[in-house]
Amino acid sequence: MTTLHVLEPGLLTTVQDLGRPGRAALGVGRSGAADRFALRLANRLVGNPEDAAALEITGGGVRLRASGAALAALTGAACSVSVRDGGRSVPAVLNAPFSLPGGAELTIGPAGAGLRAYLALRGGIDVPPVLGSRSTDTLSGLGPAPARAGDALKLGTPRTPFHPVDLAPVGPPPTGDLPLRVVPGPRASWLQADGLDVLTSAPYVVRSDSDRVGMRLDGPILRWARAAELPSEGLVPGALQVTPSGTAVLFLADHPVTGGYPVLAVVLEDDVDRAAQARPGQRLLFRAVQAPNL
């Protein structure tokens, strides 16, 4: 059985699958990959089920060694990848499967575009599931601890056939301004009437204290229209909440199950994956679109 040894864990590397849905009523969030599209793609490239567990690598800077041969793919953030085997170092291509010979060292360089890279390995990462998922929920502490140097991660036994793919036609995440589609949120009326106009009229900059729970944004102040306290209510990834001081928080995978501040706007589900690739300092451009009809 192949084991992946962590030599350098980088800034934050966690095991992620598609999370643990269906338990929010018990106070358990879904968690899972922040960029679900990239995780699914990485898994497909190595012939795994889309919900297999992979490594979510924040910012790159990771070194790993495989004890035995493995098939791998890296998606999401654009990082340089090289495989060092017996003194020879060979670069690997992103968004395509590549082989890791037994004993080879895999080096994932710093992310040049995007923030979160996904390393899938054939068979998936076989840490014990917690409540049906192997994901690390950084808010509640459920799931395995983030990777540390010296950790050994076992790979599972492949259960689905592998259909060779050369390359997925996916570009790197954008490095410039990032457009995100939003619909009006459930409590837009708690903000001053022009709240959505303010949000969509100027860029909001991703702050460096953003994490898997949410992105803190710098931009024009969004003012509450009333001082009353909102009873806590359910949140989703992509919910854009406004704090009493008027700053915006865009929730990601490890958001709290409920929150007590008004949600002004909600980023469309597909665009939440793109938002999760925004780097500190990058500018978000919110664009209002029509909410679904009920």
Partner: protein, 207 residues
């Protein structure tokens, strides 16, 4: 009941209050609309998250409208007893704030049957309602950085039991040794929406 779109993969049901939340939660437990993947009851709302590949906001909305809110008693969530040693750090303060005194607080807290309205804050933390209205107290002005697991506490109209150590601003009135969160149990939470709870006073034991 008001249905509000919440992005393109969820909708929020805005209700009159907790009774309506419990009623709709019970109805959803009996008959979950196709494609709904998560239900989040809260104080005045129920959030439904759905899988866009299986349903639409309009289909979920019409399924919710068809549901008749089930009476709370039909919630098949059961009843539990929680033994409590009433010696919390804020017990005297709660006795003063409510005017009930220490004994009066214990009597009121243990004398009512509470119901878990919803969970939140952390896995397995239930917000219990339906107790003695005289026990309504504000959160502490100065939250604690660490409240021990098993602490039984009051805030606003709720009582709750901390399943694990956590920072917290609730008023601590006692503690229980009965675990309320167990990852090896299914479901892992003892106090889940609809469960009815009685607190049973235990005498203080000195080691």
């Amino acid at each position: 009941m008001r249905l509000i779109p919440y992005g393109d993969a969820a909708l929020l049901v805005d209700l009159d209050g907790l009774d309506a939340v419990l009623g709709l939660s019970a109805a959803l437990e009996n008959q979950l609309p196709d494609g709904v993947v998560d239900v989040v009851p809260a104080a005045r709302t129920v959030l439904l998250r759905f899988d866009r590949s299986r349903t639409t906001a309009a289909q979920v909305a019409s399924a919710v409208r068809r549901l008749t809110a089930a009476p709370v008693e039909q919630f098949g969530a059961g009843q539990v007893e929680i033994p409590v040693v009433y010696d919390g750090a804020d017990l005297a303060e709660v006795g003063r704030l409510t005017g009930l005194g220490v004994d009066g607080v214990v009597e009121a807290h243990a004398g009512a049957t509470w119901t878990v309205a919803f969970c939140g804050f952390m896995p397995g933390f239930g917000y219990l309602v339906g107790g003695d209205p005289r026990l309504r107290v504000p959160r502490r002005a100065d939250p604690r950085t660490r409240v021990p697991a098993g602490s039984v506490a009051l805030a606003d109209r709720y009582t709750g039991v901390y399943p694990r150590p956590a920072p917290g601003g609730w008023q601590l009135i006692g503690r229980t040794e009965r675990p309320t969160w167990d990852l090896d149990a299914d479901p892992p939470a003892l106090l889940r929406p609809g469960v009815r709870v009685r607190f049973v006073p235990m005498s203080t034991r000195t080691p």
